[in-house]
C-alpha cells in the first residue's frame, strides 16, 4: 500500500445498546490512532466503554442490541467497517486478535487446549490438522506450558495457565494488532507479574502493536508507550506515557492516580473518586465527569468539552483549559 497508514485508525466511534430498559450509550465518539509497534494503554473505570471500544474494532459487538457507528475504522490500512463477513473472518485472529478478560470462561470446555490453539492456525495458515496441532504445541511451549499438555482440557488448568492458553490463542497467527482486555484482572498478584512479563516479551519478539485495556495504572506504566483515559464512553485525556503520567491534566486522571495505594505510607487511607460513573442510559448534560469533579463550575455542566491539543501529542477534554490555558492540576506530592 502506497499510502501511509497506521495500524489502527478510528474516527468518531459510537456504540449504543438498544435495550428494553432504554438506550445505553456505551461509547460516544472515540478517536484513536496507533502507530506500528506501539502499545497503547486504554484506562478507565469499569463501565467506561473500554471493552466495547475494543470489541467494536473486531466488529464483535453483539447486534442486536448493539448499534455501532463510526466515520472511520481501519486496521492496517484496511477498512473494517464495510468488510464482508468472509473478509472479516480472515482479519480476525490474523491481523487483529484479542485476549479476553476472564480466562475461566474464555476457553471452550469441551475441546482440548491444543485444538483451540490449532483452530486459528488451521483457519489462517491453511495447515492440516496434524501440522496445526504441532504448531499449537510450539505456541504452548512459548507461553511456558509443556506441549504434552496440549491434549488436556481447560478444566485441567489453573487460572494463570488458562490465561497463558488464551494468550497463545491470540498470538498463534502473529497478529499485527493485539488487544489485551484486562488480561491480568482475574489472576492473583504473583501470576499477574508473570503474565505481564510474558506479554512484554512476546510483544517485543513479534513486534506486535498492542492495546492494553486496564484500570491498573501500574500496568500502564510498565507496558505502554501511549495512554488514553476513558470516561463514560469518551476519551478525556490522551498522550504519551510521560505526558499523561508526568503532566496529568484531566481531573479524572488525577482522581485515578489519587486512588492508588501509597506504597510509602501503607497505613494511609485510599482517596477514591467520590460518586459513581453516570448511568449510561441517561448521561448528564455537559461534561459527564462534572458531578464528581472537585473543580467543576457551572460552565462545565453546559457543554461536553471537546478533546483539545494541549502540547505535543497531549490531548485533554476539559472545559477548564478552554477557559484558562494555565489550569493545570498539581498532583499531590507523595
Amino acid at each position: 500500500m502506497a499510502e501511509e497508514h497506521d495500524i489502527l485508525n478510528i474516527e468518531d466511534l459510537k456504540v449504543r445498546f438498544e435495550t428494553e430498559d432504554g438506550t445505553v450509550y456505551a461509547v460516544n465518539g472515540v478517536n484513536l490512532r496507533l502507530g506500528y509497534h506501539k502499545t497503547l494503554g486504554l484506562v478507565g473505570e469499569t463501565g467506561a466503554g473500554k471493552t466495547t471500544t475494543a470489541l467494536a474494532m473486531l466488529r464483535l459487538v453483539p447486534d442486536p442490541p448493539g448499534v455501532v457507528e463510526c466515520k472511520r475504522l481501519e486496521i492496517d490500512g484496511q477498512d473494517v467497517r464495510g468488510m464482508s463477513i468472509t473478509k472479516l473472518e480472515q482479519v480476525r485472529g490474523k491481523d487483529i486478535s484479542m485476549i479476553f478478560q476472564d480466562p475461566m470462561t474464555a476457553l471452550n470446555p469441551v475441546f482440548t487446549v491444543g485444538q483451540q490453539i490449532a483452530e486459528s492456525i488451521e483457519i489462517h495458515e491453511h495447515l492440516g490438522k496434524a501440522e496445526a496441532l504441532e504448531k499449537a504445541g510450539d505456541m504452548l511451549e512459548m507461553v511456558g506450558i509443556p506441549r504434552a499438555r496440549a491434549n488436556e482440557y481447560p478444566h485441567q488448568f489453573s487460572g494463570g495457565m488458562k490465561q497463558r492458553v488464551v494468550i497463545a490463542i491470540a498470538l498463534a497467527c502473529n497478529p499485527k494488532l493485539l488487544i489485551a482486555d484486562e488480561p491480568t484482572t482475574a489472576l492473583d498478584v504473583t501470576i499477574q507479574a508473570q503474565v505481564l512479563e510474558l506479554m512484554n516479551e512476546l510483544k517485543e519478539k513479534y513486534d506486535t502493536s498492542m492495546i492494553m485495556i486496564t484500570h491498573d495504572l501500574g500496568i500502564v506504566a510498565e507496558v505502554c508507550d501511549e495512554v488514553a483515559v476513558m470516561y463514560a464512553g469518551r476519551i478525556v485525556e490522551q498522550g504519551s506515557l510521560e505526558e499523561v503520567f508526568g503532566k496529568t491534566m484531566h481531573p479524572y486522571t488525577e482522581g485515578l492516580f489519587n486512588s492508588l495505594p501509597n506504597i510509602k505510607n501503607r497505613t494511609a487511607k485510599l482517596k477514591p473518586i467520590h460518586g459513581l460513573m453516570p448511568d449510561p442510559t441517561k448521561l448528564p448534560e455537559g461534561c459527564p465527569f462534572a458531578p464528581r469533579c472537585n473543580y467543576a463550575t457551572e460552565d462545565c455542566r453546559k457543554a461536553v468539552p471537546e478533546l483539545h491539543r494541549a502540547s505535543g501529542t497531549h490531548m485533554v477534554a476539559c472545559s477548564a483549559y478552554e477557559r484558562d490555558k494555565n489550569f493545570m492540576i498539581d498532583r499531590r506530592k507523595r
Binding site: L58, L60, I85, E89, Q90, V91, R92, G93, K94, S97, M98, F100, D102, T105, A106, L107, N108, P109, V110, F111, T112, G114, Q115, Q116, A118, E119, S120, E122, I123, H124, K129, L133, N151, Y153, H155, Q156, V166, I169, A170
Partner: protein, 326 residues
C-alpha cells in the same frame, strides 16, 4: 470435524478407566434389575385375583384347581414364586401365556423388532425436526422465527398423538395413497407411525434444544472463537452445539426409553404390532405372565439405554468423563 480425531486419540489414553466404569455400571445393573423385577412381580401378583379360577372356569373342583395351580407355577409363597421366576428368567424362560399358551419370551421377541424399528425411526424424526428448529429459535431469539418455532412446539406438545396419527392417515394413506394405513408390511409402513410419534416427541426436544442453546450462546468462549476468525456457522454448530448437547441427550434418553416401552396409541391407530399393544392386550386379557415378562424385558432395555446415555455424556463432555474415571 476437528474434535473427532483427537477425541478418539484421547479415548485410547484413558480407555482403561472408561472400561472399568462401564463394567462397574453393568454390575450395578444386576441389583437394580432384581429389585425392579420384584416390584413388577409383586404388583402383578397382588393386584390380580387368583388367575386359576379364570383359566379353569366356574365348574372346576378343588382338586382340579390345585393341580392347575401347580402346573401354572402359582403354588407357594410370593417370595418362593419370585425366586422360581428369577431362576427361570436366568434360563431365558419367562413362562407361558395364559391365553395363547405361547412362550412369553418368544412373544416378546416377535414384537421387539417392530418396536425398535418404530422407536429408532421416531427418535430420528424427532431429532431431525427439533435440533435444527431449536437452534434456529435460539440464534434468532425473540424474532418471528423464534416465535414460530415455539408455536410449532406448542402445537406438537398439545396435539393428541392419536389425532395426529388419524390426520396423517387420512391425508397420506387414504387420500394420497403414498403409505399404507396400517400393518407392518415392509419399511414403508413404519413411516406414518414414526412421524406420528416423532412429531409428538420433537416438541419437548425443540424446547430443550432452544433453552440449552440460549444458555451456551451467552458464553464468553464463543466470543473467543469468533475473535479467532471462526465462521459463524461453525461457532453455532460446532462450538456452541457441542456444549448444549448434554440436556438434549438427557431428554433424548428419557424419550427413547418411553417409546421402547411401546407407543400404544400410535400402535393402535396404525395396527402396528409392537410391544405396547402386546402389553395392553395382555392386561385386557389378564394374561399375567405376558405382562410381567414384557415389563421386565422393557425395564432391562431401559436400563441399558440409560447406561448408554451416561457413556455418551462422557464422550461429549470431558468434565463428566473426568468424574467417571476418577
Amino acid at each position: 470435524m476437528q474434535g473427532a480425531g483427537s477425541c478418539a486419540l484421547h479415548l485410547l489414553f484413558d480407555g482403561a478407566n472408561m472400561y472399568k466404569y462401564i463394567i462397574k455400571r453393568l454390575l450395578m445393573l444386576i441389583p437394580v434389575l432384581l429389585g425392579v423385577a420384584f416390584v413388577i412381580f409383586a404388583i402383578m401378583n397382588v393386584a390380580e385375583g387368583d388367575p386359576v379360577y379364570q383359566v379353569a372356569g366356574p365348574d372346576a373342583t378343588e382338586e382340579q384347581l390345585e393341580a392347575l395351580r401347580e402346573e401354572m407355577g402359582l403354588n407357594g409363597s410370593l417370595i418362593q414364586r419370585y425366586f422360581r421366576y428369577i431362576g427361570n428368567l436366568l434360563k431365558g424362560d419367562l413362562g407361558t401365556s395364559y391365553i395363547s399358551k405361547m412362550d412369553v419370551m418368544k412373544l416378546y421377541f416377535q414384537r421387539l423388532p417392530n418396536t425398535l424399528k418404530l422407536a429408532s425411526l421416531a427418535m430420528l424424526v424427532a431429532v431431525l425436526i427439533s435440533v435444527p428448529l431449536g437452534i434456529i429459535a435460539a440464534v434468532n431469539q425473540n424474532s418471528w422465527k423464534d416465535t414460530l418455532a415455539m408455536i410449532l412446539a406448542l402445537i406438537g406438545l398439545s396435539m393428541p398423538n392419536f389425532w395426529l396419527g388419524l390426520l396423517l392417515m387420512l391425508l397420506f394413506a387414504l387420500k394420497l395413497g403414498w403409505f399404507p394405513s396400517g400393518g407392518s408390511e415392509g419399511f414403508i409402513s413404519v413411516v406414518l407411525p414414526a412421524v406420528t410419534v416423532g412429531v409428538g416427541l420433537a416438541a419437548l426436544l425443540t424446547r430443550t434444544t432452544r433453552s440449552s442453546m440460549l444458555d451456551v450462546l451467552r458464553q464468553d468462549y464463543l466470543r473467543t472463537a469468533r475473535a479467532k476468525g471462526v465462521t459463524e456457522r461453525k461457532v453455532i454448530y460446532y462450538h456452541a452445539l457441542r456444549n448444549a448437547l448434554i440436556p438434549i441427550i438427557t431428554i433424548f434418553g428419557v424419550q427413547f426409553s418411553n417409546v421402547l416401552g411401546g407407543s400404544v396409541l400410535a400402535e393402535t391407530v396404525f395396527a402396528w404390532p409392537g410391544v405396547g399393544r402386546l402389553v395392553v392386550d395382555a392386561i385386557d386379557q389378564r394374561d399375567i405372565p405376558t405382562v410381567t415378562g414384557a415389563l421386565i424385558m422393557t425395564t432391562m432395555l431401559v436400563t441399558v439405554v440409560n447406561l448408554i446415555v451416561d457413556i455418551v455424556y462422557a464422550y461429549v463432555d470431558p468434565r463428566i468423563k473426568a468424574q467417571y474415571t476418577k
